[in-house]
Amino acid sequence: MSDFTGVRGTVWFRALAGQASPMPGDPKSVLTADAPLGNDQARFLCVVPDPHARFPCARHGEVGLEEGYALATRVREIIELDKNTTKRPIVAIVDVKSQAYGRREETAAIFLAASAAADAYGSARLAGHPVITLVVGQAFSGAFLTHGYQANRILAFDDDGVIIHAMHKEAAARVTLRSVQELEKLAREIAPMSYDIRDYAKLGLLHKLLHVDNPENPTQQEIHAVKGELVSAIEDARNSPVDLRNRLESKGALEMRKASLRVRSLLAEQWLAEQ
């Protein structure tokens, strides 16, 4: 989408972690830092644009080969460090326009780089780390599956610049043989198709919507409030199962995912039935 600037990731990374730099050996597009959050020392991760990235199709904030493996490395490092001790929180700050669309990426199996990052986040969650995602800008498709969607809890700003979706409008219209106008009309009526974060919130997948007047330039007070929300999400995650059942047991899911719930109960019933 044309309005993607990729500045929000850096702004929020700096606001929450106190600095914004990659770790030694990592690409400039992956920011990692450890910083206090409540009573914990949390690990923060973010993917940001690097116009000089080694791979040409990953120079505008896309999640590519290097980004996937760098994220995986930095998350796995924490799992290893906390093996026999308190599991520290992992916070994924998300503002990603897409995965990298390139021939090199496909040849070198970008799907595996993406799986590796998702594996690391999911394994951290299963090991007992509270994994919290904060969507501050865009969270599209494969990029979000790679970086953020395996979290115990997902928070997002209720802002027009925040979009969680499977595909950008123009491409989705092309693939489903509709005009952008037709797609926008449908998206207003059908919650899972909507590009509005407030509609996404109705699906029951979000832990909470947060408000910040200008996410590109937050006040100290707003940053403080967001930190407080992250701390309570961490607390909530620590007191809950490590799987993703909360997404399906939410109030929103009871309303919007009735078919999912029916599938689950029927399948459980028939699974046990005698042959």
Binding site: Y69, A108, L112, A191, P192, R247, S260
Partner: protein, 290 residues
């Protein structure tokens, strides 16, 4: 072609020509297959009819419980002929819930493996965010189940496995492909649209298979088995992997190895797919000699 190979070719029973239901039955031990939440339960997508798309009473996903090599197993097959095998709310939930039930059985002491048959372009765009969420939840369930029993991904063709579902394949304990199958995150059309025909010419069929095809994925260690399009041989490959059990380290957890391989690649040029096979493994050899 030798007489024997010729005979093999004409006598083979194509797996690719089977539909999802027939494929699932073919992989389970004879007489053990039992379909769960089948078409007569009529759990359809609630999102398609309102968009003038005809739903299907199994939502293009078949769950079949039974045995493989005498051991409890569940096979979940996507029907590539329905909406391109795309993941919607119902099809996604069928696969995820089946894997969760298998996981619960493992925890109760009943080892149960899962075979997922992926013929899919990824998210069903008419269900957009619920499709994407379904893939995220499926990935979480694969991670939970594969600790106990293998999750085997079979991509036979001809749809292939793309989009977010390629990430699900990446998490699998084993990947099995035929030469006709393709596996990748972004299809050639999408790449051409995003970055131009110089980046990827989507009409170049040879290039597509040279990159995404089963033969290449197997040659570069990204698939664990390459099988002929012959039903008994496909079933045999799956049986073998079920018996092999959980691998010592899953591919998607071998971060150091793959990160090194990416670091060793020259990103300033496009690689010839054939040459890439050795480029990809070049760094490994160097490590070993140190």
């Amino acid at each position: 072609m030798s007489d024997q190979r010729y005979a093999n070719f004409i006598n083979r029973q194509s797996f690719i020509e089977l539909d999802a239901r027939e494929r699932a039955v073919a992989l389970l031990d004879e007489g053990t297959a039992r379909e769960l939440v089948g078409p007569f339960d009529r759990v359809e997508s609630p999102w398609l009819a309102i968009q003038d798309v005809t739903p299907q009473s199994d939502d293009g996903c078949v769950v079949m419980k039974g045995k493989i090599a005498g051991k409890a197993a569940v096979v979940v097959a996507l029907e590539g002929a329905f909406q391109g095998g795309s993941m919607g709310e119902v099809s996604g939930e069928k696969m995820t819930a089946a894997l969760d039930l298998a996981c619960a059985d493992n925890e109760k002491g009943i080892p149960t493996s899962a075979v997922i048959l992926l013929e899919t372009g990824g998210v069903r765009l008419q269900e957009a965010n619920l499709g994407l969420a379904a893939i995220a939840e499926l990935m979480a369930s694969i991670l939970a189940l594969r600790k106990h029993s293998p999750v085997i991904c079979l991509t036979a063709g001809t749809v292939g496995c793309f989009g977010g579902m390629a990430l699900a394949a990446g998490l699998a304990s084993y990947v099995v492909m035929t030469r006709e199958a393709r596996l990748g995150m972004n299809g050639p059309e999408v790449i051409e649209q995003e970055n131009g025909v110089e980046e990827f010419d989507s009409s170049d069929r040879a290039l597509i298979w040279a990159i995404h095809g089963g033969e290449q994925r197997f040659a570069t260690g990204l698939a664990d088995a390459l099988v002929e399009d012959d039903t008994p041989r496909v079933a045999e490959a799956i049986r073998k992997l079920v018996l092999q059990g959980v691998p010592p380290v899953h591919r998607s957890s071998q971060v150091t190895l793959y990160r090194k391989r990416i670091e060793n690649l020259d990103s300033s040029v496009q690689w010839d797919p054939k040459e890439f096979r050795s480029l990809w493994l070049k760094g490994d050899a160097k490590e070993e000699t140190v």
